[in-house]
């Protein structure tokens, strides 16, 4: 009987410890098992999907590639400046993310326009100015439509051409990417509660030992 009690107490302590450590964010996206030979032994490892190389231009007409995001945690979304529906809500919420991390040079926000014909670099600059964002924390990216639509897929997002009513259909998600360019979370950008969670998750991710050491 006594032994049982001790056992229960130990178990409780163990559980208490476990719940004290912050749970790490999951890694999302497609996983592929890869077999490698390490020290003469065959081991199977899981390789997570990463965001492939890209090349776009930001609101300052600077070329931005995946290299500009090396060593940075970032959030991506898809929008267009004349979007009457969900984009104003998304960017009203994204402004909270911007304000929280704008002094952190290891953090970025990238917003891809899905209407590159209208959203030229000067249009994006004007939008950025009016939105009240400055500096290099938040880039609005212009690129070939095909490139943007292709990269959207690697962020697990669906965007498509204008429908017969002349509207673009696109997801309103914010996607959190870590320094290894892996997807760590997707958040409904129109929901303030989800965006609050995103801000908390960015803090968790920044504190992850795996991220502190990553270059």
């Amino acid at each position: 009987m006594r032994k049982l009690w001790i056992g229960i107490v130990i178990l409780m302590l163990f559980n208490a410890c476990k719940s004290n450590t912050k749970t790490a964010l999951p890694i999302l996206g497609y996983k592929t098992p890869v077999t490698k030979t390490v020290n003469g032994k065959t081991v199977t490892d899981t390789e997570y999907a990463t965001i492939p190389p890209f090349k776009f231009v930001n609101q300052y007409a600077d070329t931005i590639t995946q290299k500009n995001l090396d060593g940075k945690i970032y959030v991506a979304d898809f929008f267009f400046t004349t979007c009457p529906s969900i984009c104003p809500v998304m960017h009203r919420n994204m402004l909270n993310v911007y304000k929280e991390f704008k002094d952190d040079d290891n953090f970025r926000i990238i917003s891809h326009t899905i209407d590159p014909k209208y959203d030229t670099v000067p249009v994006l600059k004007r939008y950025a100015d009016k939105l009240g964002i400055a500096g290099n924390t938040w880039w609005l990216l212009h690129g070939e439509k095909g490139d943007t639509y292709k990269i959207a897929k690697s962020y697990l997002q669906s965007v498509s051409e204008k429908n017969p009513k002349g509207e673009y259909i696109h997801d309103g998600f914010f996607i959190l990417i870590d320094k290894q360019k892996r997807i760590r979370g997707t958040y409904e950008g129109t929901d303030p509660a989800e965006v609050t969670k995103l801000i908390a998750d960015i803090k968790t991710l920044k504190a992850d030992p795996d991220q502190i050491t990553a270059k």
């Binding site: 009457p84 104003p88 960017h91 009203r92 939008y127 009016k130 939105l131 009240g132």
Partner: protein
């Protein structure tokens, strides 16, 4: 007997008076709550749940002075859209608001909601008023 009759008439008048007043209030409440739904569906994405707008892209709906000065053309703004430089809450805006082809009654409801929320207090915008204003749109 006479006094009783006068008393009864007085009470009747008071009841009529009171019910007239509450008719107005009922109408206001009906417009206001209907307007809050129209607002959520047609305006909130842009103007925000607190009428706060979005930076310098979309004007707030909290400038009572602006709303009062433009009271007679607000219905036209919604019906025909607005595409010009305006100054709201001390800031200039020049992005476009698209026309929204909603029924005059919906316009009356949403304007009642907007002009009595977010710190505004301008009373009911009636269907009659909206119909008159729409006739004078430029």
């Amino acid at each position: 007997m006479k006094i009783k009759a006068i008393g009864a008439i007085a009470i009747l008048l008071i009841i009529i008076g009171a019910s007239c007043q509450s008719d107005d209030q009922i109408e206001f409440k009906r417009y206001y709550s209907g307007g809050s739904l129209v607002y959520q569906q047609h305006c909130q994405n842009c103007h925000g749940d607190k009428g706060q707008g979005l930076s310098s892209l979309i004007p707030p709906l909290t400038d009572s002075t602006y709303l009062k000065q433009n009271k007679a053309v607000l219905a036209c703004f919604i019906k025909n859209g607005l595409k010009r430089k305006i100054t709201v809450a001390g800031r200039t805006f020049d992005d476009d608001m698209q026309a929204d082809d909603i029924a005059p009654l919906e316009i009356a409801k949403v304007l009642t909601y907007v002009s009595n929320s977010f710190g505004n207090k301008m009373g009911t915008v009636t269907l009659q008023q909206v119909q008159d204003d729409l006739r004078n749109c430029k």
